[in-house]
């Protein structure tokens, strides 16, 4: 994909589909390395399924025969000299602490590094599409961090307000933009 933010959206959608109540999207930049972690507390996968998710011919969809979200992301990580790993614990194996963690490492100074792109849209699209589940977005850079936790927004607005409402989404968008603006101003 032309932007990593689209991969991020694609993989996070899998987390929601896996029944996650909280999906964490963590971007950490250290020197020339970007680490992307997508962690959820969803139903998890068997070791066999984990091995298959990097196979483009594996998909949970029934409408088509290939699933390319994770394979594309793995390719994009590897073509910068980085890597992608997936670990998972099934709910049947551990009823309390289960879910899936995907970790992708990119070397941002490699010419084939795919730009991060519009992560704000990724976050707002996820919240708008799934207003009843929680997301934690945290982008850490050398200059500081950008953070949004929907549980915080939820408790601030009260139970009666749906996070998917236009005004809420617009506010979240502005809030993230402001934080990114502050980082650039430093």
């Amino acid at each position: 994909m032309k932007e990593l933010s689209l991969n991020l959206l694609d993989v996070a959608e899998n987390s929601v589909k896996a029944g996650a109540t909280l999906t964490e999207l963590l971007l950490t930049e250290e020197q020339n390395r970007l680490t992307m972690v997508i962690r959820d507390d969803g139903c998890g996968m068997s070791a066999e399924t984990v091995a298959k998710v990097i196979d483009p011919f594996y998909t949970t969809r029934t409408t088509r025969k290939v699933g390319l979200g994770v394979p594309f992301l793995k390719m994009e990580a590897e073509q910068t000299g980085g890597s992608l790993t997936v670990s998972s614990t099934e709910a049947s194996a551990d009823p309390i602490c289960h879910g899936t963690t995907l970790t992708a490492v990119f070397y941002t100074d490699h010419v084939d590094f795919t730009p991060l792109g519009d992560v704000i849209s990724t976050v707002t699209t996820l919240i708008q599409g799934h207003p009843d589940t929680d997301f934690l977005f945290l982008h850490t850079t050398a200059k500081g961090e950008v953070r949004l936790a929907t549980c915080g927004v939820r408790s601030l607005l009260g139970e009666d307000v749906c996070l998917g409402e236009y005004e809420v989404i617009k506010w979240i968008e502005a809030y993230l933009k402001e934080q990114y603006g502050d980082l650039q101003g430093i």
Binding site: D55, K65, V66, L68
Partner: protein, 107 residues
């Protein structure tokens, strides 16, 4: 023209499980997600990418064949997947532009 007919014109077979498929045009691209939405069925897809995702995209877009240009080599395991998924793969020493010009003269 058919995919196997290309073998007479500077293209070599890597695997041709459905060599009798017709080619009705070509698409050139290396960004797989982009190709996925734009290459159309029965196109020959010209690329320098050679990982297993190429087979998946070729299968999804239902292209008549993948043409690996500039002498790019397909790893053995990817070749096996292509065979299994009925994806035709050819290779050529020509760069993408020349491969496309040659194709355009032929079809």
């Amino acid at each position: 023209m058919t995919v196997e007919a290309l073998l007479q014109h500077g293209f070599q077979a890597v695997t041709l499980p459905e060599g009798n498929r017709e080619i009705d045009g070509a698409y050139i691209g290396d960004l797989l997600s982009w190709v996925m939405g734009r290459a159309t069925a029965d196109n020959a897809w010209i690329t320098i990418m050679s990982n297993v995702n190429v087979v998946a995209v070729a299968s999804l877009a239902d292209v008549s064949c993948v043409i690996l240009c500039e002498g790019v080599v397909l790893p053995e395991d990817v070749k096996a997947t292509a065979e299994q998924k009925n994806v035709n793969v050819l290779t050529t020493e020509m760069p993408a532009y020349q491969a496309a010009v040659r194709l355009s003269q032929l079809i």
